[in-house]
Amino acid sequence: MQITVKLYGSLCIGRFHSAVREYPDSSTIQTIVTDLGIPSEYLIRLKNGYHVPLEEVVQNGDTVSLLPMLDGG
């Protein structure tokens, strides 16, 4: 199935900003994170604009956004 993956901030470095990628059925956010070699800690994960856990299953046509979880100071 096809998933649009969007990356933000330093997560783009050496990867991409936005790409449509192929994943097997029943893939989760964790599948995508692992595939891209992004540490799953301190990560904001959105599916179609909504916050979701790593275990969230994705479906064909979904958009997954991954953002670094920062903080202020």
Partner: protein
């Protein structure tokens, strides 16, 4: 600090800290070893200073009885990485209840000044009264203990903060400095004066790489006391790093929390600057006075775009491996690195950028630099200016400040200079007072009289419970963007549990960018290794919670009423459809949240203040 036993919880009086009281009126100083009363005293910072402030009944900030307290945390000057913070506490000229009583405030800063103060042998200085003439105070490590001198400071008047530091550095080569800028000198017109702290990088390079204790007008308090600078002079006395301490420091660097603030080249996310990418994904970057437009104008401030114009270099405070500073340098004609332009942190970047309609990084750097040199709090100044610009957009026929408008760089620049030089008190006294004068308060971005940082109030209802700066004393400013949580239970829980523990870093002397919660074993390990004291994570959390609640109780004692625990009216009256995060902060939600938070806090607050 003298430590006579290992258990500061059951026997806090066996830990004694060295206090110096300076009477600025007479120019005399006394010193004593003070036994700690509780674990907050032992940990230090605002946990200790607020207990001193609570003993005084102060009805106006600018009065001789209002002390300015300089202290450090238990880990300041230790071998724990980032352990270099110093704290300034007083009743604030800026933050004031509707009854007109000043609120207690503290402000924290890095640099190497805190370490040097610790190495003079002092843990705390209380400045009493005010000097009739401008002076500076010198604390040094004499043969028989800490020494104090009060000296005339007329020659420093009118200089920028950086110029004062470099002038003093010529005279005191092995010292570090806390100074005020022209803004603090003009304390009657400027209530948002910052204290400017020197760094090793600054003294070596001669460039203005200071750090700031900005919030709450502590620099204006210094100005009121006619105390123009503080010198902490000592040889470096950094202890030997033990193998266990090496492990602590490795964990400071390796824990995922701090890794976020490390340079991109080090595998981190590049400091707080990167927040702009995250928040823009939700169109939640403040623009035009905290009113995101739903467009991509802020992209000019994204790192890759800024790097086209500037050489961006990661630097650090003394011995810090987190290296969160992003210093921007001009490029010479041959492509080599030129002079320092400014330091890019999220707050000043947004508040002197998109939030005042400026998205050209060259202009933003100039405004940041100017604010720093004049010695004002970037958050208070930036949020007050954006109010002026917003007001003018709504009232083109009767504008404020000569009609300056969003995006007008030259006019805004002039406005900053006039404010910092004491010529524009309507801006220098902050947005609460200004909006009360104009009668238009709903878009004045402050809570309880203290201007908001660059995180939208509609994404953080917990601002109401921050006691000393919206994001420095309540760790919920990114909660919605990070977790997406909008439930009442979630917000009550985050405020009353993790959120308030943010203030713990302003007790122990470490930097918040260590990135772990106060309940993390790393904190108790660091204290144990640096001091020999045995204190558990639970005990630290309990003491931090008490210190926070004491601060909240002190606000109530200074006259804050329930309806002052609120957000700018615009949040409820006119939600911004451009922000793609859920709009959940209705009046009803907010009232119920407050009721439940107070129900938890109020019983615990009983007995925390002296009778």
């Amino acid at each position: 600090m003298r430590i006579l036993s290992q258990n500061p919880v059951t026997d806090p009086s066996t830990v004694l800290y060295r206090r110096c009281v300076v009477d600025l009126e007479t120019g005399t100083a006394t010193q004593e070893d003070v036994p700690c009363k509780n674990l907050e005293d032992v940990l230090g910072g605002f946990g200790r200073s607020y207990q001193i402030l609570a003993e005084r009944k102060i009805s106006e900030a600018y009065c001789p009885e209002n002390p300015l307290i300089l202290n450090i945390g238990i880990l300041t000057g230790s071998t724990v990485m980032t352990g270099l913070r110093s704290y300034f506490s007083s009743y604030s000229p800026l933050k004031q209840s509707r009854k007109g009583l000043p609120s207690a405030m503290w402000s924290a800063g890095s640099g190497n000044f805190g370490n040097k103060l610790k190495w003079t042998g002092l843990d705390e200085v209380i400045f009493e009264n005010r000097s009739a003439t401008p002076v500076y105070a010198v604390f040094s490590d004499g043969e028989n203990g800490p020494q104090v001198e009060i000296k005339p400071a007329v020659h420093l008047l009118g200089l920028t903060g950086h110029e004062k530091i470099m002038a003093l550095h010529k005279e005191y080569a092995d010292a570090h400095f806390a100074v005020i800028g022209p803004a603090g000198e003009n304390f009657n017109s400027v209530y948002m004066g910052a204290i400017i702290l020197s760094t090793d990088n600054q003294l070596k390079s001669g460039e203005g790489k200071s750090r700031f204790a900005g919030r709450g007008g502590m620099g204006s308090m210094m100005g009121y006391k006619n105390l123009i600078a503080i010198v902490a002079q000592s040889s470096d006395k950094m202890g030997k790093i033990t193998p266990d301490m090496r492990d602590v420091n490795r964990d400071v660097i390796k824990n995922g929390g701090s890794a976020r603030f490390q340079p991109v080249s080090q595998g981190g996310h590049g400091g707080t600057w990167a927040n702009i990418d995250v928040l823009q994904a939700f169109h939640a970057v403040p623009e035009n006075n905290f009113r995101p437009k739903g467009d991509e104008d802020v992209a000019g401030l994204f790192r890759p775009n800024v790097e086209k114009d500037f050489d961006v270099h990661s630097e650090a405070c003394f011995r810090c491996g987190i290296r969160c500073h992003n210093n921007l340098y001009h490029r010479n004609a041959d492509g080599s690195r030129g002079a320092l332009a400014a330091k890019f942190d999220f707050e000043p970047l947004i508040l002197f950028g998109s939030n005042i309609g400026i998205n050209d990084s060259r202009q933003v750097t100039e405004l940041i630099h100017l604010c720093d040199y004049l010695g004002m709090d970037a958050i208070s100044l930036g949020s007050t200016i954006s109010y002026v610009l917003d007001y003018n957009a709504r009232h083109p026929d009767q504008p404020l400040c000569d009609g300056v408008a969003f995006g007008q760089f030259d006019q805004i620049r002039e406005l900053i200079v006039r404010t910092g030089r004491g010529k524009l008190s309507e801006v220098g006294r902050g947005v609460k007072r200004l909006s009360e004068q104009t009668g238009e308060t709903s878009y004045a971005m402050h809570v309880k009289g203290l201007e908001l940082p660059a995180y939208l109030p509609e994404t953080n209802p917990a601002y109401a419970f921050a006691i000393a700066g919206g994001h420095m004393s309540m760790g919920t400013h990114m909660y919605l963007a990070k977790e997406g949580k909008t439930g009442l239970d979630d917000w009550v829980e985050v405020i009353t549990r993790q959120g308030l523990l943010q203030v713990g870093y302003d007790m122990i002397g470490l930097c918040k960018f260590v990135g772990v919660g106060m309940g993390h074993e790393l904190i108790s390990r660091a204290i144990g290794e640096a001091t020999g004291l045995k204190v558990s994570s639970e005990e630290i959390v309990t003491a931090v919670r008490r210190a926070y609640l004491r601060g909240l109780a002190l606000e109530l004692r200074q006259g804050y009423e329930d309806d002052e625990y609120t957000l700018p009216g615009q949040v409820f009256e006119n939600p911004n459809p451009n922000v793609t995060l859920p709009a959940f902060v209705t009046r009803e939600f907010f009232a119920r949240m407050k009721q439940r938070v107070w129900a938890i806090f109020k019983p615990e607050m009983e007995g925390l203040l002296p009778e």
